[in-house]
Assembly symmetry: C2
Homo-oligomer: 340 residues x 2
């Protein structure tokens, strides 16, 4: 099978998707004007959407279609995880050049499906259309959460501990290795795998949602520095981060050592780790059963003091070297419209 999409046809592709992704009982999925989801009593509906554009988010020559499918689903489910929700369905829009190979598409759907299956999340609809050249992917994900229990960015309290659910910087290290063409030993491959096949922390989010002492939560997609800033701005608080407490994987340490990269810089400014970042009371922290690392605490929004390294308003980085402070200060939040 090596025909192009133009031979398969739009209806052929839709039939293929429909067969691969049956709707669960009681839900109307692909095939009508809308999907229909039954009411979930006492549950809020969570909705998030993400767009991935060829040439901006990925290069066709670099990423395997399976991985692209996986990642397209994963980054969206991660947004549901970030609220402590359970994903209930995804919607996949695809703009595809007609010359695209049908086996590429098959592999993409395979990766997308494998990630969704892992979190028991059906594909309930979408749109397929032609693109003159580049692939554009948009995923919308729906989730549910008991009413008023979603963890928002705006609920951080002074005195809260700041925690993350796993190691930081791996994905950015993997991307850097790809871009620089670093030879792929086992450690490098681990980082690249985290970049291409991130795991949305859905189970962890559900567990953390049950803990009432967990206050603010979000997922780390743009990087610790810029994502934490969103919590601080929404909650009107400050933060102190202890750089030596940042969880770094052995693989990242090894690769950084051999390449002469700064792992802290990757951990703070690199995005796409999709770990959960949350704040909680010290008492609540003692009750948390999922893996997590305490990396700092929520403070009043404080003015700069001597010996502190500040980026944006409100984050103090404890233990920063002058070169780190310099690189962190320059990077700031990720802005898609600006060139770095």
């Amino acid at each position: 099978m090596s025909k192009t999409l133009s031979k398969l046809g739009e209806f052929g592709l839709i039939a293929q998707i429909r067969e691969r992704f049956p709707a669960p009982d009681g839900v109307t999925g692909i095939g009508d004007d809308c999907a229909i989801l039954p009411p979930a009593y006492s549950k809020d509906t969570l909705v998030s959407t993400d767009m991935l554009v060829e040439g901006t988010h990925f290069l066709l020559k670099d990423i395997a279609p399976y991985d692209l499918g996986w990642k397209s689903a994963a980054v969206n489910l991660s947004d549901i995880a970030a609220m402590g929700g359970k994903p209930t369905g995804t919607f996949l829009s695809l703009a595809l050049p007609a010359r695209l190979d049908a086996t590429w598409m098959e592999e993409f759907l395979h990766g997308y499906g494998d990630l969704c299956k892992q979190f028991d999340t059906p594909l309930l609809g979408g749109d397929t259309t032609a693109s003159p050249d580049r692939i554009c992917i948009n995923v919308t994900v729906l989730g549910e959460c008991p009413t008023r229990f979603a963890k928002k960015r705006s609920d951080a309290k002074i005195g809260d501990l700041i925690c993350v659910t796993g190691s930081l910087g791996d994905s950015a290290g993997g991307l850097k290795a790809i871009l620089k063409g670093v030879k792929r030993d086992a450690d490098v491959q681990k980082l690249i795998d985290r970049h291409y096949r991130p795991t949305p922390r859905v189970a962890e989010g559900l567990e953390l949602r049950l803990n009432l002492g967990v206050h603010a939560m979000m997922d780390i997609s743009d990087g610790l520095g810029s994502d934490l800033q969103h919590i601080l701005d929404a909650s009107d608080v400050g933060a102190e981060i202890d750089l030596v407490a940042l969880p770094l994987s052995l693989a990242l340490k090894h690769v950084c050592q051999s390449q002469g990269w700064d792992p802290l810089q990757l951990a703070v400014s690199g995005g796409e780790d999709y770990e959960l970042l949350f704040t909680c009371t010290p008492q609540a922290e003692a009750m948390i059963c999922v893996p997590h690392f305490v990396i700092g605490r929520i403070t009043k929004r404080s003015p700069v003091q001597p010996g502190m390294t500040l980026t944006g308003p409100g984050i103090v980085w404890r233990g920063a070297s002058p070169s780190f402070a310099d690189s962190i200060g320059k990077s700031g939040g990720f802005d898609h419209f600006k060139k770095k």
Copy 2:
């Protein structure tokens, strides 16, 4: 104000969108990982999504940004109308070239907002990202409908009348006039307006949903011929359409007469009218208060008989001239991956 998006920045654009589209009370809109919608008791959630790609769905030089914004929202709300639902929120993903003018974006949001305001539908989230060249727009719309009352494509019954809520072919006539550079007199302009600023039949859909004798319903986006076929396939029935009963606007008749175009061909094969197509019992039809036109009836799925004009399985076109039969037979359903 004539700065580019790269000067405005992603966060500047998001701030602009957030200010223009406040979330209604009780709903968390733009600004967290997900939007949060409260439970709607005894109501199903309807979801649909549509992608519009520059070069496939529109040309920047032809369409005004206001109209593009309007249409992006309208075609999505139309899918909610097609189920008899009430739209409750939209999610807008935008991939934009950094060179794009900020005033273009402003106008786009203006058109998008005006259409949504007309149907009291908030913008609750989305994604903004850079595109290397072309604009790509994805809208996801959520709606609600009392549980099990959504009008599906699969509910047409033999003996039902087939109806549409308004004139057909105007949008296709408008598009043809644009592509052929026809001089824009008042009639031509009317058709072009219907092409660029379609009205989703939300109010009509809500009214029709209350009528239990209305069975199958959908909106006409690809064209009567191919959309009716979806109802027939989903319901396993056939149809007879009386071509002289198709509602044609005076504007379309005038323009077709002066240009030598066949209005029936546009009405049957042309898409994007966004009128509702529905089937109902004759008794129910007598009770319908919204404007509508009876254009045929649902039959058993019948084999071809002498004197009948058939396209696809199951549609008999009564009153078709041989040339119409020929053109209709060739056009069939719209397939984005195939060139016409």
